[in-house]
């Protein structure tokens, strides 16, 4: 089929890529200007759903993306509260996509950002992601489908955006006390005390962030553009395989190019390597399998984690359930030590690679089995 290219998809990809580089320049962790999985994990941390001390922060980017999508959908008359499409299956798929992403250390969006940062491990992740999508497409072609959704009460479609606004306002109110606590800890004050209800990282990725309102504003812009352009990391590869349609894939490529150029311009680019990459590991079997889970699960869901946020903003309560599944998945990943971690690096003159916990390996295998069961039991859903 001849691809009809929407120029907005390229613009959106470029804006996301540039925004990712800028957010990193202004404080976000390296190669993590955006990471939907990592940011939802940080929100799970700050709300004490897990207690990993280094990943606790209320990422305003997530709030901004959902609100930006909601605003754009309202303006263009596309906002519509819908629900009822296999919610529990979507929840568990969201859960598993998060577990896979945290084993790899990034959602598909961060995978592309890591690729643009010179992290060769992310290319292994890409191979797994493609394989996962290919498996998903096989089942789509066999007739896999989640059930139809239906119109629902407007409030149903507003729950996630409203909850995120409330969380952001509460976090903003707590921010002076939180930032005082963080600076006290960093200054070595002995009786430093967090007097707020939120948990906050004082070191590690959770402690690295761009200013609150800058992150919110960037999230809003990305939400608006992504809603309009329908950018989706999974959709890009899936549409090429299914329909030979390259439109969405161009968004994927545009992000990679913008991040690569942005890193070179800012002097962050040090060449391509698998070793000593920021918040990444070179345990390649698990990089690969983690992203197989993400690709396969997202393909069954009909969109990557970013796309789920956008759909949730448009009033899709099933996608809101998927996002909550990801939040709970992140909590489990850290409460049960399933997640990946950075390579320890040079130890006694030799480069030491991160080793995934036995729990993490078991979780990955369980996810793959569960994906197979879900894929096989939901064939020909449209006939029901």
């Amino acid at each position: 089929m001849k691809t009809k290219i929407n120029p907005l998809i390229i613009v959106t990809g470029l804006v996301i890529g540039v925004a990712a580089v800028l957010l990193t320049k202004f404080g976000n962790p390296k190669n993590m200007g955006f990471c939907i999985a990592c940011f939802i994990r940080d929100i799970a941390g700050t709300t004490k759903l897990h207690s990993a001390p280094v990943v606790q922060y209320l990422r305003p980017e997530i709030v901004g993306i959902v609100l930006g999508s909601a605003i754009m959908a309202f303006v263009s008359g596309e906002w519509r509260a819908k629900a009822g499409s296999s919610p529990a299956i979507r929840f568990i798929l969201g859960f598993m996509v998060m577990v896979g992403a945290l084993i790899f250390l990034g959602c598909p969006l961060r995978m592309v950002i890591r690729m643009g940062g010179g992290d060769l491990n992310a290319f292994v992740g890409l191979a797994g992601f493609v394989v996962g999508i290919l498996i998903g497409v096989v089942f789509l072609k066999k007739g896999f489908g989640l059930k139809r959704n239906y119109d629902t009460a407007n409030l149903d479609g507003l729950v996630l955006p409203v909850v995120l606004i409330i969380l952001f306002v509460l976090f903003f109110m707590a921010w002076p006390a939180l930032s005082q606590y963080v600076s006290d800890v960093k200054a070595g004050v002995e009786d430093a005390k967090n007097t707020t209800a939120f948990a906050i990282s004082t070191s590690g990725p959770g402690s690295m962030h761009a200013p609150l309102f800058m992150a919110l504003a960037v999230g809003l812009i990305v939400g608006v553009l992504a809603q309009k352009a329908r950018i989706c990391m999974v959709g890009g590869l899936r549409d090429v395989i299914l329909f030979k349609n390259f439109n969405l894939l161009l968004g994927f490529v545009a992000i990679f190019v913008a991040v690569l150029v942005g890193n070179v311009v800012l002097g962050n680019f040090t060449g391509f390597s698998t070793q000593s990459q920021p918040i990444a590991h070179s345990s390649q079997v698990w990089n690969f399998l983690g992203m197989v889970i993400v690709g396969w699960g997202s393909c069954l869901l009909g969109g990557c984690p970013l796309r789920q946020l956008i759909l949730a903003g448009e009033g899709n309560a099933d996608s809101a359930i998927t996002v909550i599944g990801m939040l709970v998945g992140a909590a489990f990943a850290h409460n049960f030590a399933l997640a990946g971690g950075a390579d320890p690096g040079m130890v006694d003159g030799a480069y030491k690679v991160f080793s995934l916990s036995a729990n993490g390996k078991l979780a990955a295998i369980c996810c793959l089995i569960a994906l197979l069961i879900i894929s096989c039991t939901n064939l020909k859903a449209e006939e029901n």
Partner: protein
């Protein structure tokens, strides 16, 4: 007729594609309920040589494919 209301992409495009490949209809009515599906079905049908007319039906979209 293909009723793809309540489905998100790629399902609506796949349903239309399957119907076209199976029956090669000269005219096909497709119902979808979101603009993404409307655009995707329309682009796909045009690439297969169909002319597409768009009508709004309440909050849904009715596409008539013809060749």
């Amino acid at each position: 007729m293909v009723d793809a209301r309540g489905f998100s992409c790629p399902k609506p495009v796949m349903m239309v594609d399957e119907e076209i490949k199976k029956n090669n209809p000269s005219e096909l009515v497709v119902l979808v309920d979101n603009r993404t599906a409307e655009n995707n079905v329309s682009n796909h049908a045009e690439s297969l040589g169909y002319k597409v007319t768009h009508e709004k039906e309440g909050r849904d979209f009715k596409l008539t494919l013809s060749k």
